[in-house]
């Protein structure tokens, strides 16, 4: 069983080394993102050239076009992720109160989470009335959607992905857990997505962790005073 954990956050008193660490992390993640892009770009370079071949039969041309469409979408998603990663490092996060329940409702209704693909469901568990959290609503939502999307993609029909929100020591903790041991390592796109979620939460001085198999991701933000 794989159980790699990435822990981020901003421990007090080590701001300088954390800043250096953040720069290193940004460079490494961007390099990994470019590496991930090499896969769809390889297929695209190939299909474009094969489409130009006069010998390609009509059935093969259709297949190359379908493949091209898939890989263009994949490359766009990766570029979007890289763009968001740059923005997360480029601009300050908003620090404003928001209701956890609103965030959770928006995340579970997000069209990016395609439940129909795996027939899995999301079970939300919230302990009582949660105080308002302090942070960047948009970035937190993006991180939560990313975690749910990966958990769903690793699930099978009938699985129930759990989203638990609890108040813990003055902060809001949201944990996404997939019940299934999938036996695989996360692919480069999933890793990049998690790196973006990490950057989004870290930019709010929050804390983000994940384990690979079974997949779980957890994020923590302080409550508004």
């Amino acid at each position: 069983m794989l159980n790699q954990t990435l822990e981020t956050g901003m421990p007090t008193g080590v701001a300088e080394s954390a800043a250096v660490d953040a720069k290193d992390r940004f460079g490494v993640t961007m390099a990994e993102g470019l590496h991930a892009l090499a896969q769809p770009l390889t297929i695209l370079r190939s299909t474009v050239a094969l489409l130009a071949s006069p010998e390609a039969p009509e059935t093969a041309r259709r297949r190359y076009l379908d493949l091209s469409a898939e890989q263009v979408q994949r490359a766009c998603d990766l570029f979007e992720c890289l763009q968001d990663l740059v923005i997360a490092n480029q601009s300050e996060a908003v620090r404003a109160p928001f209701a956890a329940s609103t965030l959770i409702a928006a995340a579970t209704d997000d069209p990016k989470i395609t439940l129909d693909v795996s027939n899995a469901s999301i079970h939300v568990l919230a302990t009582g009335e949660l105080p308002a959290a302090l942070g960047d609503y948009a970035r937190t939502l993006q991180a939560l959607v990313a975690a749910l999307k990966i958990a769903i993609s690793l699930s099978c029909a009938g699985d129930c992905v759990e989203l638990r929100a609890i108040a813990s020591g003055g902060s809001l903790r949201m944990a996404v857990t997939s019940p299934r041991v999938h036996g695989r390592t996360l692919n480069s796109s999933q890793r990049l997505t998690l790196a973006l979620a990490d950057a989004n939460i870290r930019s709010q001085r929050g804390r983000f962790t994940f384990t690979e198999d079974p997949f779980s991701a957890s994020m923590e933000l302080p409550f508004a005073a």
């Binding site: 896969q39 770009l41 390889t42 370079r45 050239a49 390592t185």
Partner: protein, 257 residues
């Protein structure tokens, strides 16, 4: 081929085969290397699948695995590969460590990498790779490099094999019997080429299905029998000494009388 049956030009009917792009006759440009076995080790499922489909369309027998440990296990199996296409960045065991642990004697190695550092390529070449290709590459370039590597590797197998008055030239993809030129399709050539490597030994239908079609044993299909008939009709003309023999309950054997 659509559906579970297909008619051949010779009138025989193939049964039990599902629609499969790999079953199309391999394209002519690369047919000299038809039947060569390739292992692709690539963790990106889309890219691995794409490369497999394209290489199979050129008549190559292709297997894919998605991590270093599975690759190690495949390479330690009994059936050697002619070529290993290896991505360096792999889960469980990376490409360089894989090369350090296993050096298949007759297998050529083409390394794929998205790492732009020269040191990575140098290390791969120093660890046993024969060639290196940086992503994003174009399939046409990969195919050309595969062709060169397999040609080089083919030196380990003699270009020419003989059984009685039947002669097969691998490099030229030419078959002659007593001076008579025999025209074979790429698939027929792959069957005969495999039989030539096992002269005097019975070869089962399951082995032919696996080696020539890269498909697991399937008692419901008669495709091997149908293609074997095509080969036999071309190789053994009336009045000639019979070289292709049916071994009842087993498969086929190529032998001189």
């Amino acid at each position: 081929m659509d559906g579970s049956t297909a008619s051949s030009s010779a009138g025989s009917t193939i049964t039990g085969m599902n629609a499969c792009p790999a079953e199309a006759e391999p394209s002519g440009a690369f047919s000299a290397l038809a039947g060569r076995r390739i292992l692709i080790v690539e963790d990106d499922l889309s890219l691995a699948g794409f490369l497999r489909t394209e290489l199979q369309s050129h008549g190559l027998t292709v297997e894919i695995v998605h991590d270093g440990e599975a690759a190690l296990s495949a390479l330690q199996g009994e059936r050697p590969y002619d070529l290993l296409i290896l991505d360096l960045n792999l889960p469980k065991l990376d490409g360089i460590h894989l090369l350090q642990r296993v050096k298949p004697a007759r297998t050529r190695i083409l390394v794929l990498t998205a790492r732009s550092r020269v040191e990575d390529k140098v290390k791969a070449l120093q660890t046993g790779a024969d060639d290196c290709l940086t992503k994003p590459f174009s399939y046409q370039e990969l195919l050309a490099r595969v062709q060169v590597l397999l040609r080089r590797g083919a030196g380990l197998v003699p270009n020419c094999s003989k059984v009685g008055d039947l002669v097969l030239y691998r490099e030229e993809r030419r078959v002659e019997r007593n001076g008579r030129r025999i025209e074979l399709t790429p698939r027929e050539f792959a069957i005969l080429e495999f039989m030539m490597r096992h002269v005097g030994k019975p070869v089962s239908r399951a082995t032919l299905l696996e080696e020539v079609w890269n498909m697991p044993a399937d008692p419901t299909t008669n495709i091997v029998d149908v293609y074997m008939k095509y080969v036999r009709d071309k190789v053994d003309l009336p009045g000639e000494v019979k070289l292709t023999h049916t071994i009842r309950g087993v498969g086929y054997e190529l032998r001189d009388a």
